[in-house]
């Protein structure tokens, strides 16, 4: 459970830092008057959707941290047999990086009021995300053909489960991206889509980050890192 504890600790630090800005030591029973007497303690001025996405990323992060926790607990049992990772995953990873870059491009274009750039970025991002998903399905197919079924070994089960969870999150993102693209297509003004584009980009970067961590875990690259951490803890 160390992964989830670590994740919770990070969340706790962020929440603690934020709370420390909120005058939690104030004595409200003595402080009568309008808010202008107490600067910086009002409601957040960020758009609700952006805060909402931030909170959602914490929830999704917790979900993946728990998957990772379960995976590493199982991995530490004596009978663990790792599974070969199809090399297709490296190609997929590259595609997902491209997807993230494209959406960042769209985000930057949106800031510069460059509608053509936004359209290109959104389409390229969406398309490469679809290619990534197809690539993941092909990787599953390759594994099945070579006899690595979902139930034949714990490592296989985790592989399918974790990639499926990540893929589903990306598909949810594609829904939002599709809606944004449709809005742009129908000729929405830049002010109406700028926020949506930015949120899509943030979500894509998050999923890319999660994927890199998962990839490291599935390929066993993080094992060394975990070992070092364990040594340090001892």
């Amino acid at each position: 459970m160390s992964a989830i504890i670590l994740f919770m600790a990070v969340i706790a630090v962020i929440v603690g830092w934020w709370l420390s800005q909120q005058r939690l030591t104030a004595k409200p029973w003595l402080e009568e008057g309008p808010i202008s007497d107490f600067p910086g303690t009002g409601a957040m001025t960020l758009p609700a959707a952006k805060i909402g996405l931030g909170v959602f990323l914490a929830v999704a992060g917790s979900l993946f941290a728990l998957f990772i926790s379960a995976y590493s607990m199982r991995m530490n049992m004596v009978d663990w047999r790792a599974m070969p990772v199809p090399s297709l995953l490296w190609f997929n990873t590259g595609v997902l990086v491209l997807s993230s870059v494209a959406l960042q491009w769209a985000h930057v274009a949106a800031r510069r009021d460059d509608m053509d750039g936004v359209i290109i970025g959104l389409l390229a991002g969406g398309l490469s995300a679809v290619v990534f998903l197809v690539g993941q399905l092909l990787a599953w197919q390759q594994l099945r053909v070579s006899g690595y079924f979902v139930a034949s070994n714990p490592a296989n089960s985790f592989f399918y489960l974790i990639t499926a969870a990540h893929g589903l999150h990306l598909m949810g993102g594609l829904l939002a991206l599709g809606r944004t693209t449709a809005k742009v297509w129908r000729g929405a003004k830049m002010v109406q889509v700028r926020l949506s584009v930015e949120l899509c980009a943030i979500y894509w970067h998050f999923l890319l980050l999660v994927w890199l961590v998962l990839l490291g875990l599935l390929t066993g690259w993080t094992d060394d890192f975990v070992d070092i951490c364990r040594q340090l803890l001892k």
Partner: protein
């Protein structure tokens, strides 16, 4: 969670919300059924939760009938008994208490108490309710599928949960896990709303330290739930894989009926870790809203400011954080390393400190207050007593050496029913008596309310106090029939019959309460806008019940904290949060 630098122009949100921003229902359907108004969603949540809660209540009667008079009721066999305890536990903890506190009270009170027009994502909020309803329907449908609901116990421990010896192995467990997954998806949608509304939609002047403790409790509990429910989600998905796809996440190699099963290599302990990583915070997800609400009830009905507001806030935050590192105290008998037991016993005892601070502060709020023994106040007092009681037995069970012999006995049942069954329900009932006038514009009948309180309160003690004694004798929980065993004296059987009679009586009192709810809706005394003369914003709405958009043309502006009761020199014994200071000279008191 990004800090916003102070800027005089952006810091104050506009007082008037442009008309286009507020969603407006256009038909009866969108007004009352597919409504996006948090108040309607709150009532939908509350009614659904209460309905499924009544099912769980009836299940508890059936269980008590079997325990009190074993062998008398031939229609309750051992399998059904297991199904009853499973469904009773799961419904009460998740589908009733969590949904009612967060989906019901959260939806109704957060926008009103922080001075917002509605939740920030009304559409997602509506979706949240309908997914919750679907989860409840899927859960209830297990009573009618072949094999019936699962009988795995509310903890659903593998491997037994998906083996053929456990009732409901065919459909029950699959639907139960699916229902949980749906519930979590629905809750996440609602939870995002509650958190972001508190963060972003507070009205001008409503600093965090001016929030009523009810909002603090619900806010913190929602954050905890958002982070903890994924653990149950992961566990449910993995067990569903085990059951449907034949994977072995939780299933070790097993021989069943002489046959080697296809499973092998899974870890049942892994499930326990995941389950309790959700399960322990869940206790506080239910308790923190109760803590918050009871603080407001006590302060209002004792006409006194809450004692130690800052400490109350800090304690809520501390409990929220600590509750994530105590989960394995539910697993002392799972064979884990003794050092872990030591660690988790220590954290468990530490969490008693902020909790005790809260109890002291409630008692000190009452001290020399102008206590009105209204029905909400009676329930609040009942909560404090019950919670202290259940908390003390928690100290017993938190210690490994004491827990091991008491594990899986009636002592545990008595403990958790006191601390997270009866105590939060006391708050739910008190809160309903308190806010019913705001929701309906009418008061609940006082005489019926007092009858309801005394029967429920005394009854709960008569039920659960003797149960501790049964547990000390070693009477195990989850047994359909303990039969004739040497360590259980005949008096234990008499006691069991007594508990059953009281339980049925308490159940009857709840019917009186339901009658009161319906009767008062039509015949209750008109309450006016602020019958309890309370300070918080929800009592200051221009209309009662609050209209669509909650406030009139302008949002309220907050000038003070939520507990200005019996202020020396003030004209009345309460000053609403949105009442401006009389003169600026009073400001001199600020440090």
């Amino acid at each position: 969670m990004v800090d916003v630098p102070y800027d005089a122009t952006t810091e104050i949100p506009p007082a008037e919300v442009a008309e286009v921003e507020l969603y407006h229902p256009t038909s009866w359907w969108t007004r009352y059924v597919f409504s996006q108004d948090a108040k309607v969603i709150a009532i939908q949540y509350s009614l659904t939760a209460s309905a499924i809660g009544l099912v769980a209540l009836v299940l508890s009667w059936l269980m008590r009938l079997q325990l009190g008079f074993p062998g008398t009721f031939s229609f309750i066999d051992a399998n059904q008994y297991l199904q009853f305890i499973t469904m009773h536990g799961m419904i009460m903890v998740i589908y009733l208490l969590t949904a009612l506190f967060l989906g019901g009270f959260g939806n109704y009170l957060i926008p009103l108490m922080v001075g917002a027009r509605d939740m920030v994502f009304p559409y997602v909020n509506m979706l949240s309710y309908w997914v919750y309803l679907l989860a409840v329907v899927v859960l209830a449908s297990t009573f009618f599928v072949p094999g019936g609901p699962t009988g795995a116990g509310w903890t659903l421990y593998p491997p037994q949960a998906i083996l053929s010896g456990t009732p409901g192995q065919d459909w029950g467990i699959v639907l139960m896990l699916s229902s949980l997954i749906l519930f979590i998806i629905g809750f996440t949608m609602g939870g995002l709303n509650y958190v972001v509304t508190v963060l972003q939609a507070r009205t001008r002047g409503m600093t965090l330290m001016r929030l009523p403790l009810t909002v603090w409790g619900i806010f913190t509990a929602t954050i905890m739930a958002l982070l903890a429910f994924p653990a149950l989600f992961v566990a449910s998905v993995m067990m569903l894989f085990d059951r449907l796809l034949g994977t072995s996440f939780f299933m070790p190699a097993l021989v069943e009926m002489g046959q080697q099963m296809k499973y092998g290599g899974g870890s049942p302990i892994l499930f326990q870790h995941l389950f309790w990583f959700f399960g322990h915070p869940e206790v506080y997800i239910v308790a923190l809203p109760a803590f918050g609400i009871v603080s407001d009830l006590i302060s209002t009905h004792a006409r006194k400011n809450i004692f130690g507001y800052r400490m109350m806030v800090w304690a809520i935050v501390a409990i929220g954080a600590l509750s994530f590192i105590v989960w394995a105290h539910h697993m002392y008998v799972s064979g884990m390393h003794p050092h872990f037991g030591f660690f988790f016993a220590t954290t468990t005892l530490i969490i008693a400190i902020p909790t005790a601070i809260k109890v002291y502060n409630w008692v000190l709020t009452l001290w020399r207050g102008d206590i009105h023994l209204t029905v909400p106040m009676l329930f609040a007092l009942g909560f404090i007593i019950t919670f202290v009681n259940g908390g003390l037995t928690g100290l017993f069970l938190g210690n490994v050496v004491v827990d091991v012999p008491l594990s899986d006995t009636m002592f545990v049942v008595a403990h958790f029913h006191m601390v997270m069954g009866v105590a939060p329900i006391m708050v739910v009932l008190g809160a309903i008596y308190h806010w019913y006038p705001k929701v309906t514009g009418r008061m609940l009948n006082d005489a019926l309310g007092k009858f309801h309180f005394w029967v429920t309160f005394l009854g709960a003690y008569l039920i659960f106090f003797p149960m501790h004694y049964l547990g000390l004798l070693g009477v195990p929980r989850r047994y359909h029939d303990i039969g004739e065993v040497a360590f259980v004296p005949p008096s234990a059987h008499t006691l069991n019959a007594f508990i059953t009679v009281v339980a049925l009586t308490v159940g009857f009192a709840q019917m009186v309460f339901l009658f009161n709810l319906v009767w008062s809706l039509f015949k209750g005394r008109h309450s006016g806008g602020n019958p309890w003369r309370a300070t918080t914003l929800e009592w200051q709405t221009p209309e009662t019940p609050p209209g669509h958009g909650n406030w009139g043309k302008e949002l309220p502006v907050v000038y003070r904290w939520a507990y200005d009761y019996s202020v020396p020199g003030a004209k009345e014994d309460f000053i609403p949060q949105n009442q401006p200071p009389a003169t600026r000279a009073l400001q001199g008191a600020a440090p």
